[in-house]
Symmetry: C2
Subunit: 334 residues, 2 copies
Amino acid sequence: MLFMNDEFYMQLAIDEAWEYQLLTYPNPPVGAVVVCDGKIVAIEAHRKAGTSHAEVLALVRAYEALSGETVSIDRYDAHAAHAFLRGLPAGFFAACTIYVTLEPCAHEGKTPSCASLLFELNLERVVVAHPDPIAGHGGGANRLGNVTMGVLEAQAHDLITPFLIWQERAFVVFKLAQTLNGRIGGGYLSSQESLEHVHRIRSVVDRLIIGGGTVRTDRPTLDSRYDPEGRAPDVTIFSGQTEWDHTIPLFDVEGRDVQISDTLACLDTPSLILVEGGDGMLGALGDRIDWMLTYLTPKLSPNEITYNTTTTLRFLHTQRIGVDLMIWSQNLGD
Amino acid sequence: MLFMNDEFYMQLAIDEAWEYQLLTYPNPPVGAVVVCDGKIVAIEAHRKAGTSHAEVLALVRAYEALSGETVSIDRYDAHAAHAFLRGLPAGFFAACTIYVTLEPCAHEGKTPSCASLLFELNLERVVVAHPDPIAGHGGGANRLGNVTMGVLEAQAHDLITPFLIWQERAFVVFKLAQTLNGRIGGGYLSSQESLEHVHRIRSVVDRLIIGGGTVRTDRPTLDSRYDPEGRAPDVTIFSGQTEWDHTIPLFDVEGRDVQISDTLACLDTPSLILVEGGDGMLGALGDRIDWMLTYLTPKLSPNEITYNTTTTLRFLHTQRIGVDLMIWSQNLGD
């Protein structure tokens, strides 16, 4: 067991970032931990594109822990948070190390550059897991003095794999909700927390692909009603059937584009795609599935579903979500 | 996310203790974390009955971290480790807090009393998750000055549930190795690390119960060959069949007692029982199963096995084991 070293703190940052996997789309998920005089004072993650980066949220939280005061600014407003941190007394974080899963951005985009901020704040050390992979965006670490690069880089690479792929082509996540023994379907199996999580993901994806069989059988709505700020995703029904019963609720969601297609041409466009379905969709997509997102419900259920799919996965990350387990895995193919 | 508080450190201690769940039989699994001047300097757990307790291992490790020296004594020898710690300069751990998942023992058994040791070492604080549940063994905390009780007590209670039960009656763990989609069997599905873990558990249990159908089909050996210090468990074949093919390897393991029974009378004796089998054994045992231990292999496989079992579980703890996931869950019944 590792403890009190760079890997230990970076693992905490990585785990925190996984909480927002996909939800930061089109940004990468990033986590940050601040350790001052050997004590953990902040564990934060980037939550949503257009809001403060992980480093900024962690430093605001660190300020609160060190000062004992609660900050009244909107910390998710990057400009306000940067301005607040820049206004602190020089050397405030002199005894602090920040662990960041991705190289602080040198790029001034929707938010000010985190590399510039860290340069000004002059922390004791900046520890980075993975270099900025975007051409022209890197070099943030070069500006900083005491930088350690590459701590848990492989784990941080797993974390940002969707981000790396969705800039080139569609990143395809297959969602599967099942009991521990593999029973799919049968009503609302998952915990409320799992449903809310799916709806948060539906809110950010470019498109949801669903199998025609599932549409006929389940007559789903496929909206994001459990995410209070969510929007219903556009839907592609993967089917050769051209005529559909338009009383199926998914056709009646405002502002939604519904397409019916028996090709997967939509996967050629750089985007984030969620797929929901069963064994048929698994087989139809095959190696075009990048990751599986499995919600495992703590039940054993009578199971008469026959799987035809054979594939090898790699477990990437597991976390509790309500009474369920959420398992992220990479599809390695058969 | 919690950090830098008692719950954070105790969670680390609890997670570490889970690494040795069942393996400490007949002792409870116990974890300990030492934090000095706000820095984590040790994370340890009790590993095996008759060897040093978690507190002792953690304090030896803390000494090493604080002094920069490596201790040459056999730290798993409780008498040697206690003597070493008692010989340290007074006040050596004065700036340290120890987090222990179970109240330090007041009882002088195979190992000296940890409560006495902690009293002598006079740490800044002792934080305990769960009181000693054994009549006559408690009261260890009373002797200590600055004690905080009950931090994450519910999680620590889950951790020692097997220990609480196996003193009253048989504690029954049903082992299930399967693919992510619930395929059981089909050869050695699990990772080497999972196989080794099963063999370490087989080495400590009082008896392994296996279904007659599995014996006929798989012709297993059911030994502990992947645990270098292991012993093969005694076996009960749960079956009404009295005549057996004694060329099946399990009958040829030295020093093993094999019984054949169509009752579960052996469950009335206080003991630790491992069950291996499939849906038939699950149904036969039903609510007599206390916990499930599932090794989840990262594959989807064609699955024609029909489950008849219906039960609700509660996920207790999950960890990676090689490429697999190991899931501990409580059987709540249907």
